[in-house]
Amino acid sequence: MKKMQLTLTVNGEAHELLAEPRELLIHVLREKLNLTGPHIGCETSHCGACTVDMNGRSVKSCTVFAAQANGAAITTIEGLGSPGALHPLQEAFREHHGLQCGFCTPGMITRAHRLLQENPNPSEEDIRFGMAGNLCRCTGYQNIVKAILAAAAEMNAVKEAAE
């Protein structure tokens, strides 16, 4: 099958690449752009490990063809912080033990990042509802919720101080 020329803006950087129409966004991110933060978990749109931000929405990149994302702006976990300068969500997940094996964590944090933009002051219930598309088999979710609440407070404090 003929490859298509695609343009994706990923973590602020424009990429031109060739992909078959049947290639899923998760495969293009991981295998063509070497962004292995988004994980392949269930491959059936349930677990959320492959969650990335696409044009301001959280999507499961195992259920989007790269061709559908042509022209889109995408943010992966690699775009949220760096080992020397963690994003407040990454810091809060570490501080509150919001991960054990870490497999779901990139999807969790990428989704939480969008959730906090949709709702900067979520209640515990809002977080549980807003994170319902991401599964974790280690933590029992308690510490993930705590971490997101803490990150929200931290991000709001920083924003307030800046204003």
């Binding site: 129409p21 049947r22 491959e43 059936t44 749109s45 969650t51 959280s58 259920t63 559908q68 598309g133």
Partner: protein, 284 residues
């Protein structure tokens, strides 16, 4: 899981989408949010030679409220339904339903058009559209026609839409009154074990109009006229609601699957229909 190879088309208007659909016939399928179709392609249960992505067609977007008439473009996502304050004022049943569909990521891309056109008995919006007595607009090579939601579903995945047509919009008249969509599911992201959409209007202390439809309790959504008739003219007392539930249960034919045996589904349906009626009445 990687689907079989296909060619990808992204037309910018309905005319070109229809032309491509016509050119490739059986081999072509349109895709909206893709969260029913893409998993089927990955499992190789659907084989598509030509995928026609509708995302760039502006005419398929947008929610229009004109007096009592609501028109929703087929490519409006579940999240957009949830976020539209004017729509929620006009028809709160849609928001209540959309919030019970799948999970946030799926609602961000899943569309109302895909949900109603797919013909999957597990989809929630078909029963809601039947409850609202909505109309689906189908556009094909010879123009546009309207089909009532109550006449649209023929069997599982078989609808009144012809292969060369695209479902472009849903529309309905706002009736006011009390609403409810009640759904029992095993987990977030699952389809309903049983679900019911109810609209009730109240005149004084009596129910003056009723509409009741159910999800995933037959191979098509079921609108139960008998259930509605059992409530009209009554004060929706427990005995009246009991009659309506019995009438609704007489209209369904659930099948056993991994959500449970038939007896269990009938039991759950009874509980769900009763709750939906009670909640709609409390809001009427």
């Amino acid at each position: 899981m990687i689907p079989a190879a296909f060619e990808y088309h992204r037309p910018s208007d309905i005319a070109s989408a229809l032309a491509t659909l016509r050119e490739f016939g059986d081999e072509a399928r349109v895709v909206a949010g893709g969260h029913s179709l893409i998993p089927m392609m990955k499992l190789r249960m659907a084989s598509i030679g030509h995928l026609i992505d509708l995302q760039d067609i502006a005419d398929l977007k947008g929610i229009r409220i004109d007096g009592n008439t609501v028109r929703i473009g087929a490519m409006v996502t579940q999240q957009e339904l949830i976020d539209d304050a004017a729509l929620t004022r006009a028809a709160p049943l849609l928001r209540e339903t959309a919030l019970q569909i799948a999970d946030p990521q799926v609602r961000a891309v899943g569309t109302i058009g895909g949900n109603v056109a797919n013909g999957d008995p597990g989809n929630d919006m078909p029963a809601v559209m039947q409850c609202l007595d909505a109309t689906f607009t189908l556009t094909g090579p010879s123009g546009t026609r309207d089909v009532k939601a109550r006449d649209f579903y023929e069997a599982a995945y078989v609808t009144a839409r012809a292969d060369e047509e695209i479902l472009t919009a849903v529309s309905f008249t706002v009736s006011g009154g009390g609403h409810a969509y009640e759904k029992q599911k095993r987990k977030i992201g699952d389809y309903a074990t049983a679900a019911a959409a109810v609209m009730l209007q109240k005149d004084g202390t009596a129910c003056s109009a009723a509409s009741i439809a159910m999800t995933n309790l037959s191979d098509v959504p079921v609108w139960s006229k008998a259930a509605a008739d059992a409530l009209v003219g009554t004060a929706c007392n427990p005995a009246d609601i009991g009659s309506a539930v019995a009438a609704a249960l007489a209209d369904i034919s659930p099948t056993a699957d991994n959500r449970g045996p038939v007896e269990f589904k009938r039991h759950v349906a009874g509980v769900i229909i009763r709750r939906a009626i009670e909640r709609a009445w409390s809001r009427a």
